[in-house]
Structure formats: C-alpha cells, structure tokens
C-alpha cells in the first residue's frame, strides 16, 4: 500500500512540474491567436475569438517578408549541417584512427577548444572578416558558414571520435591487409558505420544554427539578409501594443522547425546528449 501511495505522490509532483514547464509554451500558442484586446484582458490560455490574422500581419510586418527570413535561416542551418558533418567527420577520423606526428598535441588542443567561450573571439573575427570583405554584401553569410566548414565546433569532433572508438579496429585492419589506403578505409568502413554519429551531429547542428543569435546579430547588417532570430528583435523596437499578437505568431512559427526535430528525433536527441554530454 505504502508503495502505491508513494507512486501516486511522485506522479502528482511530476504533473505539477510538467504544467509549469509547459505553461509558457501553451501561453505562447494561445497568445499568437488572440486579438489585441484579448491579449490584455483574457488571462486564459485559449482565446475567445480565434485571430489567425496575427500570422498574416506578422508575416508582412516589415519591408521584407518573413518568408525571406525563414529562407535565410534555413539556408544557414542546412549549410551549417553540411559543413559540420563533413569537416568534423574528417578530423574525427584522423584523431580516432590515424597515427601522425603530434597527434596527441593536436587532440589536447581540440579538447581545450571545447571549453573556449565563443564570445571571446567575436571581435577579432569581425575585424578579420571585415578586412576580407566578408561582412555584408556580396557574401553576408561567409562569417557564419566558413567556421562550420573548418570543424571549429569541437563538440562534434569529440562526439565522433568517441563514436569511432566503438567501431572495431579489426575492420580497418582487415581492409588494410587487403591493401586499402586510409582514404579507402574512411570511405568504405568509417563513413558508413558512423551514420548514427552523423545523424546526431546533423540534428544538433541544425538546431544550434537555427537558434543562434549572437553571431547572426553581429554579422548580418542588411534587412534582406536577416535570419529569423535577428528579424524577431525588430518587433521589440516597435513598442506599439498592436505588434504583440503578430510578434507572438512569428515567434511561434520560428520554433516550429526545432519542435518538429524534437518530435521526430526525441529519443535520439536525449540519447545524443547522454553519450556526448552535449548541451541542448
């Protein structure tokens, strides 16, 4: 009997915590379809008058439509995924499987960059990229993308090294006895077997790039190049009450891709952070 009471109490506590955790998200959902008057007066989660017009108004709220901002964000996120997947896989293979001079030194440095706070580098990177002509037109996204193609996201290199250690070395050995070069081993043994680590990297790359704000704020200067997070901050500037509904509508839309990833890959995401200690 005591055991079952305890179970019920635990479940009740969890449900209360869950309600607190989900409330802001549900409130956001409700507010995005409330009229201007109801946002101020109706404290309930759901509106009395369903106002989908917020989405139309928000979409067209600025001189450039949100369609453009979403396309920009999607392009940055997809290219970030490609860059991280390719460059981190190459580096991880070298660290996990190949013997070369100073390997231990480079590996130690890579681990060191894991804890390097990214904000520290933003000013010199800005100065450097500006000198190269990469800030603003004609190549506004190079400062966001080039680092991703150079395996600077050490988390993913580390995650893949850890994963590759689990692939039996005998597979490499067998291929080598058959005369395979390190490139052939990479292509035919490591790449196919590393798919789970690649998928984890791809998902987290996408979500991080999609949510990233600091770098996009610093490097994007023209309205038509803005990504969704930078565009959302434009709503904050316009303090008028009428913008609240549209602002919530666009904020909600901006979370949809991440939410879809969460629904599709929930188990993988949760296990992904287990195996690597990655932050969500």
């Amino acid at each position: 009997m005591r055991g079952s009471t305890r179970r019920v109490v635990r479940l009740l506590i969890l449900i209360v915590i869950l309600a607190i955790v989900l409330y802001p998200l549900l409130w956001m959902l409700g507010t995005s379809v409330k009229s201007r008057e109801e946002i101020a007066t109706n404290i309930g989660l759901w509106p009395d008058v369903f106002t989908p017009g917020n989405f139309r108004d928000g979409w067209q709220n600025f001189d450039v439509s949100f369609g453009r901002f979403f396309a920009n964000s999607a392009m940055v996120a997809v290219l970030t995924v490609v860059g991280n997947a390719v460059s981190c896989l190459l580096a991880a293979y070298a660290f996990a499987r190949l013997r070369f001079r100073m390997r231990r030194v480079w590996f130690a440095i890579m681990i060191g960059t894991l804890l390097l706070p990214g904000h520290v580098l933003i000013i010199p990177q800005y100065v450097l990229f500006k000198q190269l002509g990469w800030v603003g037109e004609p190549w506004p996204y190079l400062p966001l993308l080039v680092p991703q193609f150079l395996a600077t996201e050490a988390f993913f290199v580390f995650l893949m090294v850890q994963f590759m250690r689990g692939i039996p070395v005998e597979l490499d050995e067998a291929a080598k006895i058959d005369g395979a070069s390190p490139y052939t081993v990479f292509r035919h043994v490591i790449v196919p077997l590393s798919r789970p680590a690649l998928v984890t990297t791809a998902i987290f790359s996408f979500i991080w790039a999609w949510n990233d704000f600091f770098r996009q704020l610093v490097f994007l200067s023209d309205l038509q190049d803005y990504t969704v997070p930078v565009a959302l901050t434009l709503f904050i500037d316009s303090t008028s009450e009428s913008a609240v509904g549209p602002m919530f509508a666009m904020s909600l839309l901006s979370l949809v891709p991440v939410f879809l990833f969460f629904v599709a890959f929930q188990r993988l995401l949760v296990e992904g952070i287990n195996t690597s200690g990655i932050k969500g």
């Binding site: 804890l115 520290v120 450097l128 290199v157």
Partner: protein
C-alpha cells in the same frame, strides 16, 4: 585557450584510441601524410578562426581600434584599456557583478531542479519517457530569441504571471521593467531549461549499481541516508561535469538579456551581462580595442574558474575506479 583537463568529460579517458601499429618506412609515412590530409580543415580552422583571431584580439586590446579607421591609424595605448576597465569604468564592474550573481544563483538552482526531477524519473513507470522528453523540450527551445520574447511578455506589468498572481489577490511587480527583478526573471528562464542536465543526471543514476542500495537498506539506511551515502558520491562525477558546463554557459548568457533590455542591459543596467556589455562596447560604441581587452579578461576569468572548479573537485568528486584525478 582555456584549460580543459581531460577529466572534464566522463565518457572516458580523453585521448585518442590506440591506432594500429604500422611497420617502419613507407606505410607509416603514408599514414602520417593521410592524417594531416584529414586534419587539414580542422587545422585551418584552428589557425584562421581561433588562434589568429585570439592573437589579433590580444594586440587590439593594447590599441584604441574603433572599427572605422584603418589599421595604419591605430594607436598603441599600452595598458590603458585594462587600466580604464579596472579603475575608471563603473559599468564594467557592474557587469561583472550582474554576471557573477546570475551564475551563482541560476546555476545551482538549475542543477538542483535537474537532479530532483531526475530522481523522480529514475524509476520505471508508464509514461516516464514522455515526461523525460517534455522536460527536455525547453532546453532545445529556451535559448532562442522567440522564447526570450515570450518570457519578457509573460513577466510584463500586465503579463500572464501578474494575471495569475491577481487571481490570488496579489499585486505583482512589473518584473522585467523593475531593476530589482529583471535579472531574476532571466534566472527563472535559465532554470526552466533544466532538461539538458537532467538527462545527463538520469544517465548517471542508471550507472549506480543497485547492489549498493540493497546493501545500504540491509544496514538499515533510510531513503535520505541512502541519497547522502550512495547517490551523491556515486553521482559526483556527473554533478561535477554538469557544474562545469552550466557555469561556463551561465557566464556567457546573452540572448535573453539582449531581448529583455533591447540591447541596452537595462532597466538601470540590471541585466548588463558580461557578454552584453562586451557587445555594447564593441559593436554599439565601436570601442573594439577596449572590448578586446574585456574579452581577454573574460577568457582568463573563465579559465581561472575552470581551474578552481577542478581543484575543488578533487575534494568532493568521487571516481569509482579510485583514481585520483
């Protein structure tokens, strides 16, 4: 480069796995070459994106570079930026205080929440996976501009939180516009994202052998005693790992403070986090030399904090293999 002893990562000894031993001569040299071929993008990134910018910012920190003038017109000002920072810029120390306060309160509360919920979820029951997934969701969404916008509006004078308090007849503060409360609302937003450390705690809890609990209850230890004597010490490496990660993240808070204050650090500088201050100095006021000095002090501070965490860790982190790290 911040110091990162390999023990930072509980997933195993942080050295590359043993590669196959090759004979002398040809194949070995070939593998050495191949190693550098595969490593080349990373090496290029290490040089161009990390190392050279770090040195450049060290140089800039001794100049009055303002982002507008040419490099040839930059003046070497010696230690002036550092002197100003430490002795003549009250906003600098204010930002340090705000950031330390934020990390000191939000990080322990976030970890305690994560551990508490992980303990509740560490029993198999129907729906445990659903709870785990939904608790994790805020960690994926919470760092975004969108959620910061939601938060600011929820804690407005006439936001949802005050409406809720109104139901109980309590008149709430204008939280986000109140210098006494603005930072606290950001702390709550950080704590709300407890899911990521929770998942790591859950994985750690699963690793604790059940025999230890059985032995403890044979000895008559109650639940609290078992938690103190078995769970906490066995979980200490994971607690330590989460503590290091969350502390470093906590010190870098930016997005929520930017959204709350529209990039100013207000109200009355109450949300002037270090990173936000750095952004304002570097990109709003264009004092890039000064902001570079701030960045270097930040880097050294983060490194020192990491070192301190690791040195105190020796006294309370218990490794099952008995190895002293």
């Amino acid at each position: 480069m911040s110091t990162a002893p390999p023990a930072a990562v509980p997933a195993g000894p942080a050295s590359p796995g043993p590669a196959s031993r090759r004979g002398r001569g040809g194949p070995r040299r070939r593998e050495n070459f191949a190693g550098y071929v595969f490593l080349s993008p990373w090496l290029l990134g290490l040089m161009g994106i990390t190392a050279i910018p770090m040195l450049l910012s060290l140089y800039l920190s001794f100049t009055n570079y303002d982002a507008l003038s040419d490099f040839s017109e930059v003046d070497w000002v010696g230690l002036d930026n550092y002197r100003t920072m430490f002795t003549a810029d009250p906003s600098y120390w204010h930002a340090v205080r705000v950031t330390v306060m934020f990390a000191l309160i939000a990080v322990p509360l976030k970890l305690a929440t994560a551990l508490g919920v992980a303990l509740l979820l560490n029993k198999a029951f129907k729906g445990v996976g659903l709870f785990r997934g939904l608790f994790y969701l805020p960690s994926l969404l919470g760092g975004s501009v969108a959620l910061a916008i939601v938060w600011v509006n929820m804690f407005n004078r006439d936001g949802a939180f005050n409406s809720l308090l109104g139901v109980f007849g309590i008149e709430g503060a204008p939280w986000v516009n109140d210098p006494d409360w603005a930072l606290e609302t950001l702390m709550v937003l950080a704590i709300w994202q407890f899911g990521a450390p929770m998942v790591i705690f859950l994985a750690g809890l699963k690793q604790i052998p059940t025999e230890l609990y059985e032995a403890a209850s044979v000895d008559g230890a109650n639940a609290w005693r078992q938690f103190r004597a078995v769970t906490l010490p066995m979980l200490s490496p994971v607690i330590f790992f989460n503590l290091v990660l969350e502390t470093i993240n906590g010190f870098q808070g930016f997005t929520s403070a930017f959204v709350l204050s529209n990039g100013t650090g207000g109200p009355v500088d109450s949300t002037l986090m270090y990173s936000l201050n750095l952004y304002i100095k570097g990109f709003t006021e264009l004092q890039m030399g000064y902001a570079s000095a701030m960045a270097w002090v930040f880097l050294v501070a983060i490194a020192l904090i990491t070192v301190v965490l690791f040195s105190t860790g020796r006294f309370w982190v218990h490794y099952a293999d008995g190895e002293d790290r």
